[in-house]
């Protein structure tokens, strides 16, 4: 079956069995391996992506259901050289350790901050309850999201439209000469 949809803002078309998992379509067909698989049964949240702006577990969504819809993966949040405030805060505040949960966590956090620019800790915990992290104890993740919220609000005051702030394509360059892992 031919399926066309938008991934991270770009129109994509692929030929796939309609029951193929969105996760496999992203990873194997489109080569977007930022979205991870931790359990394949909707429990760990490592595969979280936004489908029309709402977080879903890509391991449970048949790609056939994505016809004509919009998907955002971690690759759509920003790239090296122009990280979003959220990504930058995860680096600065210890939100990522092994990093395998991070793409899913970032997507859930992005969704939270779009709806609620000033979440308290309980709201952050609630929003991330579907994303298991075995490394951090969540404390630094929560602090990263909190710090990102502050940055986004500050940027929103500068820019005027909070919706644009977390969007890498519109985001200013925030990197300060970080090294890439070799």
């Amino acid at each position: 079956m031919k399926i066309s949809f938008k991934v991270n803002g770009a129109a994509r078309e692929l030929d796939a069995p309609p029951l193929q998992r969105l996760l496999d379509a992203l990873r194997l067909v489109l080569g977007l391996t930022g979205t991870k698989e931790g359990c394949a049964e909707g429990e760990c949240g490592a595969c979280t992506v936004l489908l029309d702006g709402e977080p879903v577990n890509a391991c449970l969504v048949p790609v056939g259901q994505c016809q004509g819809r919009e998907i955002t993966t971690v690759e759509g949040l920003g790239a090296a050289g122009h990280l979003s405030p959220l990504q930058r805060c995860f680096i600065d505040h210890g939100g990522a350790q092994c990093g395998i949960c991070t793409p899913g966590v970032l997507i859930s956090a992005e969704h939270l901050l779009r709806r609620n620019p000033d979440p308290d800790d309980d709201a952050i915990r609630e929003a991330l309850a579907g994303n298991l992290c075995r490394c951090t104890g969540y404390q630094r993740i929560i602090e990263s999201v909190r710090a990102a919220a502050v940055l986004r609000r500050a940027d929103a005051r500068d820019v005027g439209d909070p919706r644009d702030v977390g969007d890498a394509r519109g985001a200013r360059d925030v990197s300060h000469d970080r090294q890439e892992a070799p």
Binding site: G34, A40, E43, E75, Q87, C101, A129, G137, A181, P182
Partner: protein, 751 residues
Amino acid sequence: MATSPPSTHSVGVSVPRTDGTAKVTGSARYIDDLPGMPGEIFGRTLRSTVPRGVLRGIRLDPSFDWSDVTVVEARDIPVNAILMISEEQPVLAEGKILHAYEPVALIACPDRLKLDRAARAITLDIEPLPAILDIDTALAGKDVIWGEDNVFKRYLITKGRGDAEGRAASEAGIDAALAACDVVVSGRYETHHQEQLYIEPQGFVAFWDDAGVHVTGSLQCPYYVHKVLKRALDLSSERVHVTQAVTGGGFGGKEEYPSIIALHAALLARKSRRPVRMIYDRTEDIEATTKRHPAIVEITTGCDRDGTLRALKARILMDGGAYMTLTPVVLSRGTLHAAGAYRWQDAFIESVAVATNTPPNGAFRGFGAPQTIWAIERHMDRIARAIGKDPVALRAQNLLRSGDTTATGQTLGLSVGGHACLEAALAESGYHEKRAAGPAVNGRVARGIGASVFMHGAGFTGSGERMLKGKVAIDLLPGGRLQIRTASTDIGQGTETVFRQIAADAAGIPVTHVDFAVPSTTVVPDSGPTVASRTVMVVGAIVEGASREIAERVLAEQAAGGGSFTEAGDRLLSREREVSCLKVYEPPSFIQWDDTTYKGDAYPCFAWACDIAEVEVDLDTFEVTVKNFWSATDVGKAIHPVMCKGQIEGGTLQAIGWALCEEVVWKEGLIKNPRMTNYIIPTSLDAPPFHTTLIEEPWPYGPGGGAKGIGELPMDGGAPALAAAIEHATGLIADSLPMTPERLHTLARTA
């Protein structure tokens, strides 16, 4: 928060983690993210389904099309042995089946769906035998599955009146010491299996070429894999190439097990002559890979009426599972931590690890210590109850100080931060006020607070580091840069970043001028395994020393010929072509350890901590909510404070999970809950707010001005602090883990 670090002081500053950008953009390549190689096929393991039996044969359905399926059986393996401490564990079962997930055959095929069908077209002919499934049955020794008596290993530590020739005389000595005490208290404490549950399942890609075998995978210890492959494939060292992919958590679970999956993938690649990708799904990962050893600890102690501890007698039993793997070392660490952080005049600590027909247990953060620290800390609370003393006051009274000796006779010298941790955590948490106010009951919810105090040995035990001779190479690169080559892996804890900080400061260059080579056995020297809280303290010290040596050579060149550090370095490089330093670890010379008597300096130093948990218990459902968690930890020196706190918090949450909700459910040797939906780890809603204090009592031999190892320590204190808090809230005394609502309910009914 620091951003761009000042050029020559990055230690102590939370610089951006160097693998951070790749991890937050999704560009970091974990093993299953690596693009498929040309001709790559998928591998899979066929396993026993009974915990014990005789393998009669493997039958392939003749009506199935096997033309593109590779099948590997035991007879295809050059040397059917996995070389760890012993090598009795076969790569694939031959004749004997000793646990329910024992690998029996391997298959590979280009089509994943066909691979599933092929697996179903193979019948394993196994005749079941009665299985040994618990420690008591194994110890009884009526039926023997290992050696002559099912015993993998025994240890005995004695001190004071426990010192005597032979076990019986030692026991008589400690019994006499106990009999002379005012107050004698006995208890029995139990702990259960725990699954590491790193979020990235284990996996490898393997292929062969003219240079030999190449495996890349999710792993902690490249040279462990190297050793196992070399032996089983009967290859010379140069023909085995092991590379670490970005690794999504390990916690010990990727210490020894990756050797097996790497070998399985390599065998399939060898027979099929194609690259093989082998990635476990979650269920296979939970079922087949190692877990924390369950333990039973019996303790009898004697003390004065005022609480001064005198004599300790302890017996530790651990379940090693079907094969030895690392069990003797786990048992050793457990035994060495059984006396807790306290002074004892007389001690007798014996331990036994036995074989059962369950999957081999193995490394998991803490490595035997969380089990025995659970026991001694619960026992301290029991003593406090018996003599009517505040549990924290009892701890403070007996907590080791500099100048005291441990149970192995080690005299503590520098960097002994137990008291500082205790004081900081008490003050931060308001423990005394909350404790004095008594449990706060509000409707059906009772609130309580409890503490634990503990220490954890950093680095390998005893003479381990001296025998291991860990190595690191530092290369001078053009442009005044350094490259670190080490087999110590970053599995999330931040090795890459911290090593760069240490090297940068040692050489006096910015942290951005230090590179970290991908750990591959072809390129990096053997720094020893990434385990035992040794990476920063031990390997970091080698990084520091080697970086300093390179910098000295550049500085000498600079003094002779002028120019900047970079210009001098470039001159040196153009003249000598290669400027490198391969350095071997030298442990502090005063460390003395006797492996036969188990006496002396068990560890170069200890990290210390005090944990305080505040909980609410629902008195109807016995659900426990952790409201706050304070931890004060003596880390020696925090190289990267943010990551250091992250280690403490992450380790503590694993301890909270172990204590309250994680449970491997067994039925006749099979795991009934091998999924994330039913093996429950804490979510963001279950995790408490953490209040983490770093105490710095520098260890002069540690890098960066005194860093000690703290990777494992945070796993030790969570469970007993929670038990003490639950006891404060409800009066329920839990001596066994986990403290699930069901078990607390049973405790309440039988109280």
